[in-house]
């Protein structure tokens, strides 16, 4: 593919524009009157997002800039190198991705943000977060990367606090989030530290130029993967996701889930493709293991959640798991002498990332719209929204189709490419591949199946049938800004599904993969493995099938029109209460039974008997709690241990001056002995 002719300095101009717009957004957020704040700041952030999208796209198709140097007071002596922003192709892709999501989220936020989320702090935090996130992939060295990374983390933490005064869980979630975020940061810091030490520089160029191998490379790999996995929300460091996403304002959840976690993916790709491209084979096995476990565990948890936003959060873990799996497979194949199929797997990873960004934005924004309309995010209390919120319902439906990887959405295309990569592995000569690839395939398949169930549940329980509570019954459609964000997102989801060819071709450039071409105008041809996907043709065929069908149906409908009844539902008998409807908890009950080992649900049946006779039941309450096994087994012991160490440590500082003198004395004696030796 030939690089498009883009003015060389477009990238630089775009970066400057993002920074200026970010600063302007902060300024407007602080200065604008409360009435106009959301509209003005939101619009500026939308512009910043668009700037990032344009800059990133330009970089993706090969435009390069001079780079933007950040002035820092520290002397840039070795191992530090100048802090420069200049996205490469891969970075451009992720910058564009972040920009589009930010633009959508901010557009939604104009209508959505209220209360603390629309305060000065709220919008400032969002602007800082957005710009920080957009600049992460533009970094050309570790320090700039960490700087943008932490701006992103700080902004998101602050915004997470928005609703702290009205909901108690917010505080706990923020603590978890900030600690896990910092865990990620420290892993990265240590990892980059090791790389800087071994290569003598912090810029990507120096690190990759050093072509590291051996212990430093392995140490750095482990540390960095741990850091990126934490940000990407992979098991077992996913625990912040299901806590932070539900408590954050929804436009923020969307931006976090659709874009921020992708920075973890960007990091993994940066690490494995650019910084340490020549790792041993087990590295890719590590990634595949991380990815598959996350995918399966994430979707299992998602499928049994009743909290809509928590469900979406766990689904993020699943999708990020799939992406990581794809990266792992790509690397494994690259090391196994199958570069063509490896390229397909890497392209699949990028496609998964892009499509996930699109549909997860829509889903979280839709959830936000529902939350605003009903004040509820518990599926067990919703229902019947499709009749009252047609726009939201439609967009959410499209998003759910994407998340369930059904045709013709971006999600389907992405998973199709991943499956194609998997089945085209030539594993005949390689026993490792012959074992790893089928297992991967099986897990991916189960993940896809459970994903289908999850999103049927999310949509069906939340939007169909009758409202389960008065709040759901009185829901109203979202305002114009929110609606347009939802519709734009849904258009993206379908657009990616209908015309995957050109985008995929550009994505292939980002990981310098060959063998990907556009088929026809919009279709996708994986020349490397000789298969094509032409969604438009497929759609045309579907239309061709549908036209006669609909015609017949219309004729029949005219002859035998639909009859309105009041006694429908409940086998045509007396109207049943909406409480008798299946809800999210009952929907996933069979699954809870099948996977009782890994879900460890606890059931409580509370029976209140009638006064007159113990044989008569007056009321029954059934509660089902599904815990996070990893949290129980890993984090709770860890926090308990920390608390015990804390108690133990208090004896160090027990108030006795003799003990304190003892410390100093011991130190003195020790020093004397050491210097005498």
């Amino acid at each position: 593919m030939t690089a498009l002719e883009v003015p060389t300095h477009l990238v630089d101009a775009g970066l400057i524009a993002q920074l200026l717009l970010g600063a302007l957004a902060v300024l407007v957020a602080v200065a604008a009157p409360a009435r106009l704040r959301s509209v003005l700041t939101g619009s500026v952030v939308v512009l910043a997002g668009i700037a990032a999208a344009v800059t990133g796209s330009a970089a993706l198709v090969g435009a390069v800039g001079v780079g933007l140097q950040i002035p820092v007071v520290l002397p840039l002596a070795a191992p530090l190198e100048p802090l420069v922003l200049a996205p490469d192709r891969l970075g451009g892709l992720f910058m564009a991705l972040a920009g589009v999501v930010v633009a959508l989220a901010a557009l939604f936020g104009i209508g959505y943000a209220h209360g603390p989320a629309a305060s000065r702090t709220g919008w400032t935090a969002f602007s800082v977060f957005a710009v920080g996130m957009q600049l992460v992939p533009a970094a050309t060295d570790a320090i700039t990367f960490l700087l943008a990374w932490e701006l992103m983390a700080g902004g998101s933490t602050a915004l997470l606090l928005a609703d702290h005064a009205s909901r108690e869980p917010v505080r706990r979630s923020t603590v978890w989030y900030s600690v896990m975020t910092h865990l990620s940061f420290l892993f990265l810091l240590a990892g980059f530290g090791v790389l800087a030490a071994a290569s003598g520089g912090t810029s990507w160029a120096s690190i990759s130029g050093a072509a590291l191998t051996g212990t430093p490379a392995t140490t750095a790999f482990v540390l960095l993967v741990a850091g990126f996995a934490t940000k990407a929300g992979l098991v077992p460091v996913h625990v912040w996701l299901p806590r932070a996403h539900p408590e954050a304002p929804s436009h923020m959840s969307a931006a976090m889930s659709a874009a921020m976690v992708k920075m973890g993916v960007y990091g993994l790709l940066l690490l494995t493709l650019r910084l340490l491209p020549t790792g041993p084979r087990w590295w890719s096995i590590v990634l595949i293991a991380l990815g598959t476990v996350s995918a399966l565990y994430g979707i299992l948890q998602a499928s049994v959640q009743a909290d809509l936003k928590q469900l979406l959060a766990y689904s993020t873990t699943e999708n990020l798991g799939l992406i990581t799996t794809a990266i792992g497979v790509g690397l494994l194949l690259r090391d196994s002498g199958q570069p063509a199929v490896a390229d397909v797997a890497l392209v699949a990873a990028l496609l998964l990332a892009v499509s996930h960004a699109a549909f997860k934005s829509v889903l979280f924004l839709g959830a936000g719209s529902v939350l605003q309309a009903t004040g509820e995010r518990d599926l067990d209390l919703l229902g019947g929204l499709a009749a009252r919120m047609p726009w939201t319902s439609g967009a959410f439906g499209v998003g759910a189709l994407g998340a369930a990887a059904l045709p013709v959405t971006g999600g389907f295309v992405a998973e199709w490419v991943l499956l194609q990569a998997l089945i085209h592995v030539g594993a005949q000569a390689d026993r490792l591949l012959a074992i790893v690839i089928p297992i991967t395939m099986g897990i991916v398949a189960l993940t896809i199946g459970l994903g289908l169930l999850t999103f049927v549940k999310a949509y069906g329980i939340g939007f169909l049938a009758r409202p389960r509570t008065p709040a759901a019954a009185q829901a109203h459609e979202a305002g114009p800004a929110m609606r347009s964000a939802l519709v734009l997102g849904a258009v993206l989801v379908v657009g990616l599904g209908l015309a995957p060819g050109p985008l995929t071709q550009a994505l292939a450039g980002a990981v310098s993969a060959g063998g990907v071409a556009t088929f026809g105008v919009t279709g996708l041809s994986l020349e490397a493995v000789g298969v094509v996907l032409h969604p438009v043709a497929l759609t045309l065929l579907a239309v061709a099938v549908l036209v006669p069908l609909v015609a017949v149906n219309a004729v029949l409908a005219r002859r035998h029109p639909r009859r309105d009844v009041t006694l429908a539902w409940g086998c045509g008998g007396e109207r049943t209460s909406p409480r008798m409807e299946y809800n999210a908890t009952s929907y996933s009950e069979p699954l809870v039974r099948v996977f009782r080992g890994s879900l460890q649900a606890s059931h409580v049946v509370d029976v209140v008997h009638h006064d007159q006779s113990p044989l008569l039941v007056e009321q029954m309450t059934y509660t089902q709690e599904t815990g996070d096994v990893i949290e129980h087994r890993l984090y709770q012991p860890a926090t308990r241990l920390a608390a015990r160490i804390g108690d133990l440590a208090r004896t160090v500082q027990n108030g006795s001056i003799h003990r304190y003198v003892g410390f100093s004395f011991a130190a003195l004696v020790l020093v004397l002995v050491v210097v005498a030796l």
Partner: protein, 219 residues
Amino acid sequence: MSSELYQQLLATTTGLLLLTAVLQVWGRSTVRAIGLLVIQGTALAGLVLTVGVQAGEAAAPLVAGLLFVVKALVMPWVMLRSARLIGVTRERSARLRPAVELIGAAGLTLLAYAVSGPILGDTTDPATRAVPVGVSLVLLGFWQLLIRGSAITQLVGFLMLDNGIAAISSLTSGGLPLVVELGATLDVLLVVLILGALVVRMQAEEGHIDISELRELHD
């Protein structure tokens, strides 16, 4: 000054220093400890004078006099006054058994000799060879701080520590520049004054000066 006399004086003063230090660890009487401080201060002043004169420093008598006044007169007086003011003349309770205290003290003295050797290297300079006594004083001062519960005896321990350092200073480098020497002495004096004032305030507010009871601030 002849070499023999010099060595004799060194031996006498350092011996006195060590003796008083051990006696301070041994006893429980606050008043006696303060009395021993007077001897210790005098011995220290003598040591500084001896070394200074031997090295031919003009300021030596001045420094020695200053030390004598501050360490052998003013400080003990301040402490004695504090002790009288609050009417405490003996330790209330032992933190360790006396035998353990003394064995510890012996061990620390040995340690002082053990570590001083390598640090100072092989030397024939009699002054330098006496340095372990100073180190012992430092360690024994610490020991005093560590094992004694009364504020006054802690103060004594601190002064012993300080005397030890002064001794080492004089034995190794023949003293520091005058301005530093002055400043250091002044500082120590001020510290003692502050601590003395605090002791009085402690007795007034708490009704005792047992610092092992001072455990309100802890985690």
